[in-house]
């Protein structure tokens, strides 16, 4: 395996771990213009967090690809982790399909949507009714 893969996984797992422990707080917000300008891409969810003075953006990107065999366009989606500068430019991005990136996305989405709070709340409601 390549060293760059090792480093990327270490970063993704670290962000996941710190998010899970509540040491990094993500929030949902509109995507920076630099990501959507000049493309037909659709970003259904964009979340950002600041860690060690760097702004990270984590988002789902739906994009069109061309199928030459059938002469048609089709939609695909991918998860992207990006480092954004103060002018909202994308300095660097990870867009591989690694499961570590998918797991980070799930953890962050769960935290942003406060899924655990909602489930606890619903369970407590059920107990109150009984």
């Amino acid at each position: 395996m390549y060293d760059s893969d090792d480093k990327t996984i270490t970063l993704l797992v670290k962000l996941n771990r710190l998010t899970s422990l509540g040491k990094i707080n993500w929030r949902a917000e509109p995507p920076p213009r630099s990501i959507i300008r000049g493309t037909d891409d659709h970003i259904p969810i964009y979340m950002s967090a600041i860690y060690k003075g760097r702004t990270f953006g984590l988002f789902l990107q739906r994009y069109q690809s061309y199928d030459g065999e059938h002469d048609r366009l089709y939609w695909s989606e991918r998860i992207v982790l990006a480092i954004i500068d103060q002018e909202e430019n994308v300095l660097w991005e990870i867009e591989n399909s690694s499961s570590a990136l998918h797991d980070l996305f799930e953890t962050v989405r769960r935290k942003v949507a406060r899924v655990d709070d909602i489930i606890d709340d619903l369970i407590n409601d059920d107990h109150d009714e009984f």
């Binding site: 893969d5 270490t10 996941n16 771990r17 690694s98």
Partner: protein, 147 residues
């Protein structure tokens, strides 16, 4: 008994027989390797997919630790047995890292009742190892497509 074949032809025949024996051994070894490569090409993507599922399930458990400790333990067991299976398919040269990771997972499976696994820190390290194994298996899969 009178022999009509000269001695030098018999000598060549003997030498060719010995050479043929070694060629047969080489061909048998190569057939075995090709068979192993085909099996690896068929099985590794399936194993890797299952390993990704186990990793994601462990990630979910880690977000609810120690309540989901037992589920997490189960997923580490699954990951360990999948990697154990994968080791039999992958080329020798690529085994070292995967074997090392499997050693850590197997050790954790047996020591999971220890207090150090009551907090998620040690389990995050195992999760990280599983992700490294997944990436290694991905690279091996890609290399196999060119063999």
């Amino acid at each position: 008994m009178i022999s009509y074949i000269p001695q030098w032809i018999q000598d060549i025949n003997t030498v060719m027989g010995i050479v043929g024996f070694f060629i047969t051994l080489i061909v048998m070894y190569q057939v075995r390797e090709i068979r192993a490569t085909f099996r690896a090409r068929a099985r590794l993507p399936q194993i890797n997919k299952e390993l990704q599922k186990a990793g994601s399930a462990l990630n979910t458990s880690l977000n609810n630790w120690p309540v989901s400790k037992n589920t997490g333990h189960g997923q580490i067991k699954v990951a360990s047995s999948l990697i154990d299976d994968a080791i039999t398919f992958i080329p020798r040269a690529s085994r070292k890292k995967i074997v090392e990771i499997n050693g850590k997972l197997s050790k954790a499976v047996h020591e999971f009742s220890q207090a150090r696994y009551d907090t998620p820190d040690a389990v995050w390290d195992l999760y990280s190892d599983i992700q490294v194994a997944i990436t290694s298996l991905n690279q091996i899969e890609k290399n196999l497509n060119w063999e």
